[in-house]
Amino acid sequence: MKVSRIFGGLVLTALLLAIPWIVPDDYILHLIIYAGFFVMLASGLNLLVGYMGQLSLGHGAFWGLGAYCSALLALKQGWPFWLGLPAGGLLAAVFAILLGRLILKVRGHRFVIITLAFQIIIQLVHYNWIGLTDGQNGLAGVPSPTLEIPGVGKIDFFSKTNFYYLILVFCVITVYVCYRVANSRVGRALEAIRENEPLAESVGVSAFRYSMIAFVLGAFFAGLAGSLYAHYTRYISPDVFDFLHIVEMLTMVLLGGRATILGPVIGALIFTGLPEALRFVPNPFWGLSWAPGHLVTSKALPAELQLMVFGLILLLGVVYMPEGIVPWVRKRFGRRPVAQAGEEAHPE
């Protein structure tokens, strides 16, 4: 292990641990926590979308399933968060296994639309099964996690600072697992399937088996993220299945850097921060007499314009920077060493 790497790692660790103290106010901490959920979501999604190259529009369903599972267990059965969390992850994984068996043999446009249909059906069920989910009203009052350490006392993750550390732990776990998986024969198999599926099959890679692995693993982390999300916002509604969320996740993966470990992390940070950054952009229609009334309700950029910017970035980004930001930066600014069997060029 090179000295510079160890040093870099220590600095990064110190930085991550110190965030709640460095950051100026609670709102920014909230944003970082939010980004944390998406780090988990995007990293898991990257396995299927980035490494294997299959577009899935259904990832949000796993997120929502995990959230609802954990929230319902806590609210209706009184389960502590620490049981609800793995339950959420496992439920999502089970759905992924069942769905995967049915659809992972399909490729191309059909796969994309099936995953979308799946997500919509799950959303419809959550809207309409009022007995279970209370429909549109959502579930409120989801308890925040608490941890009893004998001898030390009780830690409540209600405060943003405490929750930050909780989400940090899970982000690290998620990214670590994805890193290990990507730098093993599993990762190589996924990329082989993406690059040339018949050739991959002929060297012994079972496309079905490995796509299942990517799909289920991604779903599991999405489920965990969902549970954490539910216990953080303490309220969950079927809006979690909104199409826009999955588009955000995909954008983070594709524009952050597909088939890299750092890509989804950077993507999550950038695209969680983007709406906030856009808030500082002044409303160009402010003060214009001919502007439509609904656009000039505040001095900040209206929501419609923010989303227009997002849509445009997505459109231009996938066309002009198809590999994503991280590979682009790497190509421009460094000659990365040879990709070894057990080590992807990983700047951390």
């Binding site: 093993s184 198999a189 040339n196 018949p198 099959e201 060297v203 012994g204 079972s206 990709a339």
Partner: protein
């Protein structure tokens, strides 16, 4: 294992696609260690036989046996488990990854570590990674691609892409290698490299079955040749025998080749 029994036996193999009979009652065998070439005019059914052997197609009649075991009905990745690997007529590589990484992908089956080792990057995994690295380098050396290890496969010149294909084909450690037109589209120098490579592959103990159009390659390297025309076998023998076989000459080689070889049949 019966030492007299051929490594590969193709018996009365027939396949019909609708009304079209692509392969009709073809029988031949190949012994371990020999280089066998299948030749014939376009559409003779050569690649179709490869496709049947590797499980892409199911024959209508007949069978294929490898070391006595039937191949018919097995899925592709199971056949590759038996030690039969093929290359393709159309260049098949992993285009956007580096040459070396592509070979590592070919080494997929050599990786035996389980989830625990992957997750914790145990010593077992590190050792396996090291071994895979070395094997990849060896394969690159063997096929002459060592200096192009970090190039993206799609940026390689055509001839070297074909060599890469062979390198990836060798990675799973086949005992029978099916090469589909390895020298197609190559100039004399590139074809020479392929020829040399095939010889070295045989020296390693791998049995090679070729489909090829390039006559000088075929005549140069084959121990035996099987000739197909319109899905039927019309001749079988050593290169010398095939060159003098009337049926073959009529169907395929043509007078031009005879003249070039200085053998004119009046």
């Amino acid at each position: 294992m019966n030492p007299q029994r051929p490594l590969l036996e193709v018996n009365c193999l027939t396949i019909r696609f609708g009304g079209l009979v692509a392969v009709s009652n073809v029988t031949f065998h190949q012994n371990e260690g020999e280089i066998l070439s299948i030749i014939g005019p376009n559409g003779a059914g050569k690649t179709t036989i490869f496709n049947i052997m590797t499980g892409f197609y199911r024959p209508t009649e007949g069978g294929v046996f490898y070391r006595g075991e039937s191949l018919v009905g097995r899925p592709t990745h199971a056949i590759s488990d038996l030690g039969i690997i093929r290359t393709f007529q159309k260049t098949m590589v992993f285009p956007k990854v580096a040459v070396r990484k592509g070979v590592l992908m070919g080494l997929h089956k050599s990786s035996k570590v389980g989830w625990w080792d992957i997750l914790w990057n145990t010593r077992l995994k590190k050792e396996e990674d090291e071994a895979l690295e070395q094997e990849a380098d060896r394969l690159l050396e063997f096929t002459g691609l060592a200096n192009k290890a970090h190039m993206e496969a799609r940026n390689l010149p055509y001839g070297e892409q074909r060599l890469l294909e062979i390198a990836v084909g060798l990675a799973p450690g086949p005992s029978l290698l099916l090469l589909d037109e390895p020298a197609s589209g190559m100039n004399a120098e590139e074809a020479g490299r392929v020829l040399d490579l095939i010889r070295r592959i045989r020296a390693r103990g791998v049995t090679v079955l070729l489909v090829e159009h390039n006559m000088s390659v075929v005549m140069d390297i084959s121990d035996r040749i099987v000739v197909l025309d319109h899905g039927e076998k019309i001749a079988e023998g050593s290169p010398a025998e095939i060159q003098n076989n009337d049926n073959v000459i009529r169907a395929y080689l043509g007078e031009g080749y005879q003249r070039a070889r200085g053998q004119r049949n009046s």
